[in-house]
């Protein structure tokens, strides 16, 4: 009886500890991929402000931001998406398990973003109209992936 109690207590403690780890410790792979998203957003901010007319068009700045974006989109992300880092397994992520399931086309979605950002980098220096046109394709690529593979929060 005492043995059973001890085993239960040990299991309970273990359970609490792993729950605490789930909440307090950030997963470095999750942090890395979320940081990459922030870097996308930072560079998109420059392009978007110009597209919306909030910032005067500056070919050099536009080219730099679009060039960064294309480079960021082509970063090899394999190590940032290890199995077991979906939102059903851990806290602090909206990544859906479907990313890792059979039939996942996450690779195609990433490829689409690479292509859209490369096209934008090619034209961003040509004027504000080129940015306005290219942003649509980039946003479409972001949205297609979020729609399929990110838990909606709204």
């Amino acid at each position: 009886m005492k043995k059973l109690f001890l085993a239960t207590a040990a299991l309970a403690t273990l359970g609490m500890t792993s729950a605490a780890i789930g909440q307090d410790q950030k997963n470095p792979a999750v942090e890395a991929r979320q940081s990459l998203m922030h870097l996308y957003a930072f560079n998109l901010g420059t392009l978007g402000a110009m597209a919306k007319g909030e910032m005067e068009y500056d070919a050099e700045a536009a080219q730099a931001a679009a060039g960064n974006l294309a480079k960021l989109a082509s970063v090899n992300q394999m190590a940032m998406w290890p199995e077991g880092t979906d939102n059903a397994s851990i806290e602090g992520t909206a990544a859906l398990p479907a990313i890792w399931e059979d039939g996942s086309d996450i690779g195609d979605k990433v490829q689409a973003l690479e292509e859209a950002t490369a096209a934008l980098a090619d034209t961003a220096g040509d004027g504000v109209e080129a940015i306005q046109a290219g942003m649509g394709a980039v946003g479409g690529a972001c949205g297609a992936c979020h729609k399929a593979y990110r838990a909606s929060n709204n």
């Binding site: 996308y40 980039v138 946003g139 949205g143 709204n154």
Partner: protein, 299 residues
């Protein structure tokens, strides 16, 4: 005996009133008579109306979004509705429908043959549309690929299976009056038309009462998500502090002011609004700034 006759009389009267109130009334053939549709203009109506969001097959991308095979499930507190095939297939779809048939479905919620349609189909919004836009849409939809996909039966329980009851529902909630009564500029009028009529934004962003009617006093003030998790946001000035340029950009590329991109239901909507003109997106933005602010309820 006298009481019995009175009761009988009241029952018959009640039945007659029920019959009268719940009869499927159409918009009338003359509303659409003589209209000639323009398919090119109809494409704008198609995207503004968001047809593909429900009537394209679930998960359709790219060109597949033009195949109106149906099948998308719409959860509600009354049951789950499945969008039907509205492709030009004459058997499985609506290829046999006239402009008046389409108009009666979209603006009076009545199918050819006279059955009431469930308001999961947003005729409560489309009823505000111009008949010419219905004719243009009819012409455009005839150009789309046919699909022979069979319709899936709605999953609703009694008493909602009695379509006749929808006649009473319509007498309460089917209203073609604008919510924003003073659209003072052409741009605001266009924005109002796109939001209140074709875009049917209020169908999700406005809360509903217990009978499923829209609570127009809290127009676009945010609502519970019938699909389950979370809330559909308040997009009046009381809930959304984005600039008009922010709103227009969001409807074009999907980027929020923080340069995130929505997934979920709005990703579908943005795929439609991305096809509109810059002018139309700016009109929607102007309208959203002009509607009365609804204070966001504590969540």
């Amino acid at each position: 005996m006298k009481a019995f006759v009175t009761l009988l009389f009241l029952a018959v009267l009640g039945g007659a009133v029920f019959w009268y109130v719940t009869r499927p009334g159409t918009a009338g053939a003359e509303t659409y008579a003589g209209l000639t549709g323009d398919a090119a203009r109809g494409e704008t109506v198609f995207w503004a109306g968001g047809c593909a969001s429900c009537h394209a097959a679930p998960g359709a991308e790219g060109e597949e979004r033009l195949v109106m095979a149906g099948g998308t499930a719409l959860a509600s507190s009354f049951g789950t509705f499945y969008a039907p095939n509205i492709s030009p297939d004459p058997e499985a779809g609506i290829g046999g429908w006239s402009v008046a048939d389409l108009g009666n479905a979209m603006q009076a919620g009545v199918a050819p043959g006279g059955a009431h349609l469930y308001p999961a189909f947003p005729y409560t919004s489309y009823t505000k549309a111009e008949p010419q836009d219905i004719a243009d849409l009819h012409a455009f939809m005839a150009t789309l690929p046919a699909s022979d996909a069979a319709n899936k039966a709605h999953d609703v329980g009694f008493p909602y299976t009695i379509r006749r009851l929808l006649g009473g529902w319509k007498s309460l909630f089917l209203d073609d009056a604008w919510v924003l009564t003073n659209a003072t500029t052409d741009r605001l009028a266009r924005g109002r038309y796109l939001v209140e009529a074709l875009g049917h934004c209020g169908e999700c962003h406005t809360p509903r009462n217990r009978l499923g009617g829209l609570d127009t006093a809290n127009w676009l003030g945010g609502a519970a998500n019938p699909a389950g998790e979370g809330r559909i946001p308040n997009i009046t000035p009381g809930g959304l502090d984005w600039s008009e340029a922010d709103i227009a950009e969001y409807l074009k590329s999907g980027f929020t002011p923080e340069f995130d991109v929505a997934g979920g239901e709005m990703a579908e909507v943005v795929q439609n609004t991305a096809q509109l003109s810059d002018e139309d997106r700016a009109s929607i933005a102007a309208y959203l700034k002009a509607v009365p602010a609804v204070e966001s309820a504590a969540q």
